[in-house]
Amino acid sequence: MTESTLFLIAFILYGFSAAFYFAFLFSEKNVWAKTGYKIIFTGFIIHTAALVLRTLESGHAPFTNMYESLSFLAWCGAFAYVSIEGKYKIRKAGPYFILIIIVLMAIASSPLMPKEAKPLMPALQSYWLWLHVSVTLLGEAFFAMAFVTSIMYLIAEPKKTARFKQNKGLTPERLDFISYRCIAVGFPLFTLGGLIFGMIWAYKAWGRYWGWDPKEVWSLITWFVFALYLHTRLVMGWKGKRSAVIAVIGFLAAMFTYFGVNYLLAGLHSYI
């Protein structure tokens, strides 16, 4: 079985999982969601196998070009969902979040993305590459989760009285709480991977820990936004709507760091 076959199977399973979750959303029958969970779990395992296979074949970390890095981000997303759903039971967020995973998989498999594993340029041959990218993307997957629950909050909150009363499991308060928990996981991961490991690697490869490269700067901006989230929440008692808006902005900043900077702003990181 080749890496691309496994990738395709995982992609299809994610698709089925989303379909089951949407069926759950409309029918409100728990079986659908339970099946959806089993399917995404299987997809996640197969996706893991695909990444392992690619690593063995290319001999380096599976995130050195855009295809690999998108596939890895989708994998982190699946991991974040499987673990958060396992802990907090947020089935109603499932369909939307899995949709994000599917979009990532779709962009990764588009013909525009070169898929062949190229030999690594000298600066990329470092175990700090593994640590830097994997931990950062894992953190971003949790920001993505918080993004989904925050958007759901912003939609649900105004209609609180009408429909959401009977919506036992996922009240707006619960959504707000889960957003916070996701950021409490994502923020330390992002700090460690995106900023600290990034600085260590830059120091080893280029002799400077910080060079105000656009990608570095945007990571810092993302970090500021989430610091803002934590402080307005903890110290000023902002909860709910304003918190949710900051979480959404934070995720958009993270995505701009990930995609936008490569295409819109020039910098050292553009070989990714």
């Binding site: 030999p119 041959q125 996981v185 600290i196 260590i200 002799g207 910080w210 610091a227 402080h231």
Partner: protein, 450 residues
């Protein structure tokens, strides 16, 4: 002074500064940084002068951006300091509750009865609490027993640890900016050059470029020696991602190149009618070699590492990499022009020759040797230790703040008619769910105890 402290300990100011710094930082990614005045003039016209004067073209080093960072640092320091004393009191001088009605105000509470006598209740509770990792303080008066059980109270200082870390990182950044330096040193093989600002020199003993099978560069390795007073102090091979550090200086592999001015080439000489080439000669470009008994004079005139023809049919080098090395050779036989044309190392089938010259002399380009040099970047950055220390504090603090959340339980045990009455309560700020679970479990364990 009071109003200064009040202003700088406010979180509102922190939020305001955080927003302003974020916006300023974004601005710096919209305007290219560190370009020349001419480049800005071309891009922005008359606006260029304004951008330059406002420091936007070197924004992250501009006085006003640095001022924002200083204000932010003062803010973080004052804010953490003003809050630290009450936290210390809370952590190290905890209050044991002595009034029943205070239990009503706690967010987790339970009031219940037991048949066990007071000392037994106390013993059982303490045992259960200890097994859950709590540290216990107790107080008794007039037949009543008060217990205060706490764990993870270091978590109270999570945010302070993060803030201290950030402060150290900012200080480190300023030190790097003020005292850091970097230089490039290009060394050819066996060359020794003094390190700027140091009392020792650097020697390049060996340099090699490693390639992948497809021809792209895999790595560069330079074997360097530190030389002091003509004595070799240490020798190490560095490569990309594996620098050498010595006395606060760090030596990085930052680039490489060849001196293409007069490389040595190896040319094979034969006759069109004979195969293979019977002789070869090594010679520097620009020099002449006589192959005596054959009366042949070989003269490689020009060399290009990466041959390409321009649109006007001129020869140039596409790059400084030896991707397509070619040499232009002229040869005389007994004083007569016998050959002139380009020879290609990798594509001998494309070798050219002057069609006017009639001779059966045949030449081939076999090998070349150029002096390669290695570019070593020398960095000195006394801010670095601060950065790593600060980062460690930040991570430690984040762990404490999010995953080492203090838990505090209080108990009042007193005799009431035939029974013992127990007031139990807990204080939570964050992570209520798991604390409540533990609380319920403790009560349950107690109920099952004898």
């Amino acid at each position: 002074m009071k109003s200064f402290i009040k202003l700088f300990s406010s979180v509102k100011l922190a939020i305001f500064l955080l927003i302003v710094i974020t916006l300023a930082t974004i601005l710096g990614t919209l305007v290219p940084q560190g370009g020349s005045p001419e480049a800005y003039k071309e891009k922005y016209g008359d606006g260029a002068a304004v951008l330059i004067n406002l420091g936007i073209t070197r924004l992250y080093q501009s006085p006003w951006y640095l001022t924002l960072l200083v204000l932010f640092s003062i803010n973080i320091t004052t804010c953490s300091l003003t809050r630290i004393k009450p936290k210390f009191n809370k952590a190290f001088k905890p209050q044991v509750i002595t009034e029943e009605k205070k239990f009503n105000a706690l967010s987790l509470k339970k009031i219940f009865k037991s048949h066990q006598p007071v000392p037994r209740v106390k013993g059982n509770l303490k045992e259960i609490l200890r097994s859950k990792g709590y540290k216990i303080r107790e107080k008794s008066e007039q037949g009543r027993v008060y217990l205060l059980a706490r764990k993870r109270f270091l978590g109270l200082f999570g945010s302070d640890t993060v803030h201290l870390g950030i402060l150290i990182v900012i200080i480190g950044g300023f030190i790097s900016g003020a005292a850091g330096s970097r230089d490039n040193l290009a060394l050819t093989l066996k060359e020794t050059k003094p390190v700027p600002g140091a009392d020792f020199s650097l020697k390049l003993n060996k340099f090699e470029t490693l390639y992948y099978p497809d021809g792209s560069v895999k790595d560069w390795k330079s074997t360097l020696s530190i030389i002091k007073n003509d004595q070799r102090i240490l020798t190490k091979t560095i490569e990309v991602n594996h620098p050498l550090s010595y006395k606060g200086f760090i030596f990085y592999q930052s680039g490489y190149g060849w001196d293409w001015r007069n490389p040595q080439v190896e040319i094979m000489i034969g006759r069109k009618t004979e195969n293979p080439f019977s002789e070869s000669v090594r010679i520097k470009v620009g020099e002449k070699a006589l192959i005596k008994d054959k009366h042949i004079e070989i003269n490689p005139m020009y060399f290009v590492p990466d041959f390409v023809l321009t649109e006007e049919n001129k020869v140039t080098s596409r790059s400084l990499e030896p991707n397509n090395p070619a040499v232009y050779v002229k040869a005389l036989e007994k004083g007569e022009l016998a050959f002139s044309g380009w020879l290609f190392l990798k594509y001998p089938e494309f070798n050219t020759r002057d069609s006017q010259v009639n001779s059966n002399l045949s030449l081939n380009f076999k090998d070349f040797k150029a002096e390669s040099y290695s570019v070593i970047q020398i960095a000195k950055d006394p801010g670095v230790p601060f950065i790593w220390t600060g980062c460690t504090f930040v991570m430690l603090g984040l762990f404490l703040a999010f995953y080492f959340i203090p838990r505090e339980l209080k108990f009042l045990i007193k005799k009431e008619s035939q029974n013992t009455k127990i007031y139990a309560g807990g204080i939570v700020k964050k992570a209520k769910d798991s604390f409540k679970k533990e609380f319920d479990q403790i009560i349950l364990l107690f109920r099952e105890s004898k």
